[in-house]
């Protein structure tokens, strides 16, 4: 099966070469014959099919314990549950690269399947650029990180090394693939953009298509980042979900630039402005996904999430340079078509607010990038590796994020083209007063720190503007439906007519909920360390913790000890839950991990970690975190992803379906 996997990988590589070269060759108009393009379309779909077969072969080797294969031996053992044998496929660098290849080719195949309705002149170039992404990653997998290599050992290995215990978690099944879907999905907008520049097919069509594909990648990336945060929260045992770790930041960087693009592309679609800006943002987004991969796999920065240091970093740097050179070259070549059709007329317009939003998002992006690369720069300049920590990221980004929350409230409520200051005053007077009341109420309640008060007030401001937008939309709709403002029929009609717009409000609402939760966890978190013997109690917040007993267990691949702790409410002494924080000792890896015990609540999470047991085995050292409103972070993220899906799913009268017809119309004007 391994030989077949290796063969399938080789076929995929050859097909992607065909896709790149064939696409560029057919890109010239007189060679763009439909039968040839159809052959290329099939080649693009076949790349995904063959890479799936390669991935399946590797999975088969894991499930059948084929330890003759070096990668299987390195990341699996016989005692591991079968689910972790599957997830071990992407547990190391080689397999994760193969998964990456498959996902990028799967996106390309999805585009190829839908490509019959795309502008014909665009399609060959589209295949060429899509396959170039696949070709790069397939080349690395085939020539540098091949997971099908045999172990160089004269004797058959009876068992493997096993997967890192931290990765033996159910989130391993979903977090990396979702994150990779986000990264690889963002290769599609880049391909569309470059294909449009190369073919000269610069109509609004490619912008519409690019926006949809960016939304798909963006939604996956959002889900992947949040799942990663949830995993870190449950598994790493430090009581938080985001530590501004270089690898976390690597996933956040393209998210920021993609978010900026999703806003600025609306201006290009409507006003024909910011064309070069949008090409730059798409290129930056794709370059940052490749940069993130480089960061994780080159060993250039230290992170708990990074793969071992390797020597493939230079290939990523070379590819990064190529991405930028191609984008700059094509932009210069098409500079005439990229000229803006008009300028921003007023600072009091939605265009101006969106542009400001872009600047803030890119400022955050730059500050995060600076923080990530600072150790590298400092070492290059001073010879000493200096790192910047959480305080730097918080100090720079908290005010920028709050500015973003404010712009999020302002942007959708301002008219396109221009608004008069008087009109703006009318629109924002009530939300502003509401925010002021919230701020005053919080100060009176004893919350006097500047940033938390500002954050809660701005979130309320944002909420009021969303409610105002929905209410005004329903009011305007009444003239058509003649139904009362908040009648279900009125709401349904508005939803049908402007689903994308209100989908964006759902996303904004999710962001507001997450902001409230993040503010609460940053400002009001309680953290305590203590030691208990059975029968002893410790009070924290409005809870009491009582250690009952220790409990030992033997699982197939680890031994564990649990501390059973009764969580009581201090007000009525009622036992709310028996928490069981755990320490595990993985026999094969000889590693100890902690498993957090968690009581999730709408008001707060009680997060208990068993830090150690004394030598006599009678006392437990524990850490407890009271994380206020933590669960709302996950609720907000769910709302955000739902909003992303709502916006990304095509409207019943899809723009794609009309493109071919439109293309015909253009040529018959």
């Amino acid at each position: 099966m391994v030989e077949f996997g290796q063969f399938a990988l080789c076929v995929a590589w050859l097909l992607s070469v065909l896709g790149v070269v064939g696409g560029a060759w057919l890109g010239k108009g007189d060679r763009n014959i439909s039968s040839r393009v159809e052959s290329l379309r099939r080649a693009t779909i076949l790349v995904a099919t063959t890479l799936f077969l390669a991935l399946f072969s590797l999975g088969y080797s894991f499930v059948t314990n084929d330890y003759a294969v070096q990668y299987v031996w390195q990341y699996s053992n016989r005692d591991m549950p079968w689910i972790y044998k599957i997830t071990a496929i992407w547990g190391g660098m080689d397999g994760s690269m193969l998964l990456w290849c498959f996902l990028v080719s799967a996106f390309s195949a999805c585009v190829a399947i839908r490509s019959r309705s795309y502008p014909r002149a665009l399609v060959p170039w589209l295949f060429s650029f899509l396959n170039s992404s696949t070709l790069f990653f397939t080349s690395i997998t085939l020539f540098l990180t091949n997971p099908f290599r045999y172990l160089k050992s004269p004797i058959a290995m009876p068992d493997g090394n096993g997967l890192n215990p931290l990765l033996q978690n159910e989130y391993m099944a979903i977090h990396p693939p979702t994150l990779y879907l986000g990264f690889t999905g963002l290769a599609v907008p880049y391909a569309f953009c470059m294909a449009a520049l190369a073919s000269g097919q610069m109509s609004n069509d490619w912008i519409r298509l690019t926006r949809r594909w960016t939304l798909i990648g963006w939604t996956f990336l959002t889900a992947g980042i949040v799942l990663g945060g949830h995993w870190a929260y449950l598994e790493l045992g430090w009581g938080g979900f985001w530590a501004w770790d270089p690898v976390e930041n690597a996933s956040f960087l393209p998210w920021l630039s993609a978010t900026a693009f999703l806003h600025s592309v609306m201006i290009q679609e409507r006003k024909g402005m910011l064309k070069v800006w949008n090409v730059s943002l798409i290129t930056l987004t794709y370059a940052l996904t490749v940069f993130g991969t480089f960061l994780t796999r080159s060993g250039i920065v230290q992170s708990v999430h990074a793969f071992a240091s390797t020597d493939i970093g230079w290939t990523f740097l070379a590819y990064l340079s190529l991405i930028v050179i191609v984008a700059v070259g094509l932009s210069v070549y098409r500079r005439r078509e990229l000229r803006p059709e008009r300028a921003i007329e007023s600072l009091f317009s939605r265009e101006a607010v969106f542009l400001l939003n872009n600047l803030v998002l890119l400022s955050i992006c730059f500050s995060v990038l600076w923080g990530v690369m600072f150790p590298v720069f400092s070492e290059a300049v001073t010879g000493e590796k200096k790192t910047v920590g959480i305080p730097f990221f918080n100090a720079v980004n908290v005010p920028l994020f709050l500015a973003l929350v404010m712009l999020m409230g302002i942007g959708p409520s301002v008219a396109w083209k221009r608004s008069s200051p008087r009109q703006l005053l009318r629109t924002f007077a009530l939300p502003f007063l509401g925010a002021l009341v919230v701020a005053l109420a919080l100060v009176l309640a004893g919350i006097v720190e500047f940033y938390p008060v500002l954050a809660y007030a701005l979130c309320f401001f944002g909420l009021m503007t969303i409610i105002g937008e929905v209410s005004r939309g329903l009011g305007a709709q009444r003239s058509i439906t003649h139904a009362p403002t908040w009648a279900p029929s009125n709401i349904a009609t508005l939803w049908r007519r402007q689903r994308v717009k209100y989908g964006a409000h759902i996303i904004h609402f999710g962001v507001l909920v997450m902001t409230v939760s993040i503010t609460a966890s940053m400002a009001h978190k309680i953290e305590r360390e203590f030691t208990l013997a059975p029968g002893q109690r410790f009070n924290v917040g409005r809870f009491s913790l009582e250690l009952n007993e220790f409990h030992e267990e033997r699982a197939p691949n680890y031994d564990s000890v649990q501390a059973h702790v009764s969580l009581r409410s201090l007000t009525d002494e009622k036992v709310l839950q028996v928490l069981a924080p755990e320490m595990r000792f993985y026999r094969k890896n000889k590693e100890t991990t902690t498993e957090v015990a968690l009581r999730m609540g709408q008001r707060e999470d009680v997060y208990l970690v068993l830090a150690g047991i004394d030598e006599s085995g009678s006392k437990a050292s524990m850490k407890v975190f009271i994380n206020p409103l933590q669960v709302w972070l996950w609720y907000g993220a769910i709302v955000l992803v739902i909003g992303g899906v709502v916006v990304a799913v095509p409207m019943p009268r899809s723009s794609n379906a009309t493109i071919s017809a439109r293309e015909g119309a253009a040529h018959s004007i």
């Binding site: 077949f4 399938a8 097919q201």
Partner: protein, 99 residues
């Protein structure tokens, strides 16, 4: 090993057939695709944008985001712009746009 060889052979044949078969089918062959972004397509985009801008303007006005003065002024400017585009469309009408 034997399975691997048979599966690889089958995969090769399947890939080759799927790639070559469209090239052998001469029945549905169409001519080369028009390339580039010609004046006609640009005008169509401009017309679409202009119509959308008027629609957005009316929506913003119905939602109370614009004063009557702003609405009248902007609508007049956009209508003139649309008329100018339509005029250019008329002048280009019927011309074979392939560049």
């Amino acid at each position: 090993m034997t399975f691997g060889i048979i599966a690889s052979l089958a995969l090769s044949l399947l890939v080759a057939w799927l790639l070559i078969s469209p090239l052998l089918d001469t029945g549905g062959r169409s001519g080369p695709a028009p390339s580039g972004y010609g004046e006609a397509a640009a005008l169509l985009d401009a017309k679409e944008r202009s119509l959308r801008a008027i629609k957005d303007l009316e929506l913003d006005f119905s939602m109370g985001k614009l004063s009557q003065d702003d609405f009248d002024r902007s609508k007049e400017a956009l209508s003139l712009e649309l008329l100018s585009i339509l005029d250019r469309v008329k002048k280009t009408g019927g011309a074979d746009e392939s560049a």
